[in-house]
Symmetry: C2
Subunit: 429 residues, 2 copies
C-alpha cells in the first residue's frame, strides 16, 4: 500500500508504476511515473537526490523529454528504479511524504499534459492474433484458406510509419485517398475521396529497450525478455477501403500511416508479472516453431481489453458511450518476445524506443473482435450503440477509446486511456 | 570552372556541390560539400565567416553530425548556400583560395570517413519503374496480369526500416531466416538457414526537406518540388527466398530490413536541373493519374546508372570487376514528387531527413535490369562475369557497387560510390 490515496479501480496503484513523459504549466517535458491520480516528476526527484545510487546518471536520464535514455539502460536499471519508487511511495516511508518537495513533484494528472513516451525510431506492426487473422482470412479468402501457409511459422509483420504515432487525446482527420471505383472490377481504377470505411484496431504496443546488438547480429529468444521495456495500448487506425485498393502486393501504406494512437504510460513487465497466463493457444505444437522462435515460457498476460465508442447523440452535443468490444491480450498466438526475435532474425538492428504493435487482438466470440471490420463482418451487420443508433464503421465525431487493465486482488494494474476523436475529412488542412 | 583542380570524369565538379557529412582524424562528424577530390568542411567555413548572410544560423546548422538541420530550412536557404559555395570555389575568386584556411577546410576524400548524410526518421521504398514491376509481374503471375490493377493509378510503396540504412562501404552479413521448405507446396512449412538468393536492387533515394505540413494536412503536387532536398544512389539489398515466404499478405519484412546502402553525397535538384528529360513513359495518359498526382512538369533526370560486381577471382584475393547492368533514372514511371505527394495523401506527416526509395530501376533491355532476379530471370539464366565465372545471385565476398552520373559537356555530375560487400552468414555474430 502507498501513502498516496486512490481507490481499487485506479489504473495506477503502487503495484503498477508505469513510466511516461509529462509537462505542466511550470515545467517542460520530463520523465515521470504515475501513482494514484498523480504524475510523479522523476526529473525533480532525481535533482533532489531521491534517486541516487541506482547505478546510472539519474539527473541526466530523467530530465529528457523522452524515455529513450532510460530505455537504453539495461533491465537491472529499470528494476532498481522501480524498487526505489516502490520504497519511496510505500506506507511507512516518510522521506518523500514529509518532504517539502511533495506538492511540487506530485502533479494531479488532470493538470498535466502527457506526451509520447519515447522518440520512436522505427515502428513495426505485427498480425499475431490467430482469431483476427482467421476472421480476416475467412472474409477475404473463405473458410478453407483462412490462414496463409506462413502464418503459423512466423509472426507476420510489416514496417509502419513512426512519424505518425501520436499520443492519446490527439484528434485525427478522416483520411482521404484512392478508393477502388467499381467494387467488382479493379481494372476500372480509382476515385479520390474521403475514406468511408474508417476503422480502429485494438492492439498492445511493446517498447523495446536495453543494449541491443548491432546490425547483422540477431537477438536470441533467451535474450528477448531483457529487451522488453514495457507495454502501451494502441489503436492502429485503418482506412479499409484505401487499404483494399493499395495493399497489393507490398502491404498497407496510406491506409495506416495517417495515424496510430498509443496510451502515454508504459506499463512494465515487472508490473504485469503477476498476471502471466497461458495464451488461448496454450502451446505452440501444431506446428512447433523453428528453434529460434521456441520460447521456454511461452505465455501471455491476462490483460482485459475493451474499446469504448463515444458517439454524438442524436440530440445534443453530449456523447453516448458504448463498449463495443471486450477482448484480452491472452488471444495472442505470437508473443512480443517472439516478434522481437523474428524482427532481428535476418540481422535487423533494433533500438531502444522502437515500437512493436501486437496486431489486432480478437477473441473467438463475436463480442471480442478487435476491429469494426470484424464486428460488422465487413459491413454485413450493424453494431448497436447504447442510444439505439448503430455503426458499421467510424463516423465523424466518434471518439474511440481503448482501455485495458489487469485485475489483482483489490487493485488493478491499468493502462489509462488510448483515445482519439475522428474529425471530418479536411479539418486540419 | 573552379580553382580546385579535377578532371572531366570527376564526380564532383563545381556544377555538382552535393551535401554530405564527414569526419577525419582531427574533427568529428560535420556537414560538407564535395569539390574535385576534396571534402570542403562547411562547419569550419561557417565558423570563419565565409558563409555569413545566407539567412540562417550557419554556424549551428553546419556543425551538426547530420544534414537534418540544413534540410529543415526552406529551399531558398539551400540555394543561397549553393550560390555562395559556387562563388567561393570559382576561378577568379581569391577569398578562400588565398586564405590560410584553405588547407584545413579542404580535406582529401581518401583521408576522410563519410557518414550517413542524415538521421533518417522514416524510410519508405516505392516500386515505380514500370519495366521492373512488369518483369516481376511476368515472372510471378504471367504476362497477362503482369501489372496489378492499382499500379498505373498510384505509386505503390511500403514502409521500410530506417535503422538499417547504412552508408556506402558498410559490409553486410548474408541474412539468415525462414525459407520455404518445398518449392511447390508452401503448406510443408519452412526451414531456417542462410539466404540462397541474395540480390541487390538498383535504386535512387530521395531526401525530403523543407518546412513540412503537420499530421493531417496532405502536400499538394505544386508544393512537392520545394520538399525534395536531393538524391543519393541506393541499393535495397533483398533476400529473395526469405521474401517469397514471408511477404504474404503484408509485404516484405526481414527480406529487406537487414540493410539498405546509400551513397554519402546528396546531389541537389539544382545540380540535376540541366539533365531534366522525359521519362521513358513520356506522358502519363493511359490512364491519367487523379488530379492530386498530376504533375505539370512530368519528367525525370538523365542519370546514367550502373552496377559493378567486384567478385573474388578464382586464383587470388584480387577482385574482378564486371558491370552487370546499365540503367537510367529515366525509366521511372512515378516521379519522386508524385511519390512524396502520394505518401502524404491520407495525412501522413513527412519530415526533413525522410528517405524515399525510387524502387528498382529497370529499362526495357535485358542489359538494363536493376536486379539479379531480373538479370538471371529468377535463376533461369547465368550472368557472365569478366573472368568467365558466372552468377545467378550474390555470393559471399561479392562487392556490389552502384554508380551514377549525368554527362554534361566536359563535366559530370556524379554520385560517387554506393558499395557494400557480402560477408558470409554469421560473420557479425
Ligand atoms: Ca494492425
Ligand atoms: Ca526496392
Ligand atoms: Mg496506424
Ligand atoms: Mg533494404
Ligand atoms: Ni481512481
Amino acid at each position: 500500500r502507498s501513502w498516496v490515496e486512490y481507490d481499487a479501480q485506479c489504473d495506477f496503484p503502487l503495484q503498477n508504476l508505469p513510466f511516461g513523459v509529462f509537462s505542466c504549466s511550470q515545467r517542460g517535458p520530463r520523465c515521470a511515473t504515475a501513482i494514484g491520480h498523480y504524475a510523479l516528476d522523476l526529473a525533480l526527484l532525481a535533482e533532489h537526490g531521491f534517486l541516487q545510487g541506482l547505478g546510472f546518471d539519474e539527473r541526466r536520464v530523467f530530465r529528457q523529454p523522452a524515455l529513450n535514455a532510460f530505455m537504453s539502460l539495461p533491465r537491472p536499471a529499470w528494476r532498481a528504479t522501480r524498487a526505489r519508487l516502490t520504497e519511496l511511495l510505500s506506507e511507512g516511508d516518510e522521506r518523500l511524504r514529509r518532504s517539502d518537495l511533495r506538492e511540487t513533484v506530485l502533479r494531479p494528472l488532470q493538470e498535466v499534459k502527457m506526451h509520447l513516451p519515447a522518440k520512436i525510431g522505427d515502428y513495426t506492426d505485427f498480425y499475431s492474433s490467430r482469431e483476427h487473422a482467421t476472421n480476416v482470412g475467412i472474409m477475404f479468402r473463405g473458410k478453407d484458406n483462412a490462414l496463409q501457409p506462413n502464418w503459423l511459422h512466423l509472426p507476420v509483420g510489416y514496417h509502419g510509419r513512426a512519424s505518425s504515432v501520436v499520443v492519446s487525446g490527439t484528434p485525427l482527420a478522416r483520411p482521404r485517398g484512392q478508393l477502388q471505383k467499381s467494387k467488382e472490377d479493379p481494372w476500372q481504377g480509382s476515385v479520390y475521396g474521403p475514406c468511408k470505411l474508417l476503422d480502429f484496431e485494438l492492439e498492445i504496443g511493446c517498447f523495446v529497450g536495453g543494449e541491443l546488438p548491432p546490425l547483422g547480429r540477431p537477438l536470441s529468444i533467451a535474450e528477448a525478455a531483457e529487451h522488453v521495456f514495457g507495454y502501451v495500448l494502441m489503436n492502429d487506425w485503418s482506412a479499409r477501403d484505401i487499404q483494399a485498393w493499395e495493399y497489393v502486393p507490398l502491404g498497407p501504406f496510406g491506409a495506416k500511416n495517417f495515424g496510430t494512437t498509443i496510451s502515454p504510460w508504459v506499463v512494465t513487465p515487472d508490473a504485469l508479472e503477476p498476471f502471466v497466463c497461458a495464451t488461448s493457444a496454450g502451446t505452440q505444437s501444431e506446428p512447433q516453431p523453428l528453434p529460434y522462435l521456441q520460447e521456454e515460457n511461452y505465455s501471455s498476460y491476462d490483460i482485459k481489453l475493451a474499446v469504448d465508442l463515444h458517439t454524438p447523440s442524436k440530440a445534443g452535443s453530449e456523447k453516448v458511450i458504448t463498449t463495443i468490444t471486450e477482448s484480452n491480450f491472452r488471444h495472442m498466438y505470437w508473443t512480443p518476445r517472439q516478434q522481437l526475435v523474428h524482427h532481428s532474425v535476418t540481422g535487423c538492428n533494433m533500438a531502444p524506443g522502437d515500437l512493436l504493435g501486437s496486431g489486432t487482438i480478437s477473441g473467438t466470440e463475436q463480442r471480442s473482435y478487435g476491429s469494426m471490420l470484424e464486428l460488422s463482418w465487413r459491413g454485413a451487420n450493424e453494431i448497436p450503440l447504447a442510444d439505439g443508433q448503430v455503426r458499421k464503421f467510424l463516423q465523424d465525431g466518434d471518439v474511440c477509446n481503448v482501455r485495458g487493465f489487469c485485475q489483482g486482488e483489490g487493485f488493478r494494474v491499468g493502462f489509462g486511456d488510448c483515445s482519439g476523436e475522428v474529425l471530418p475529412a479536411g479539418t486540419l488542412d
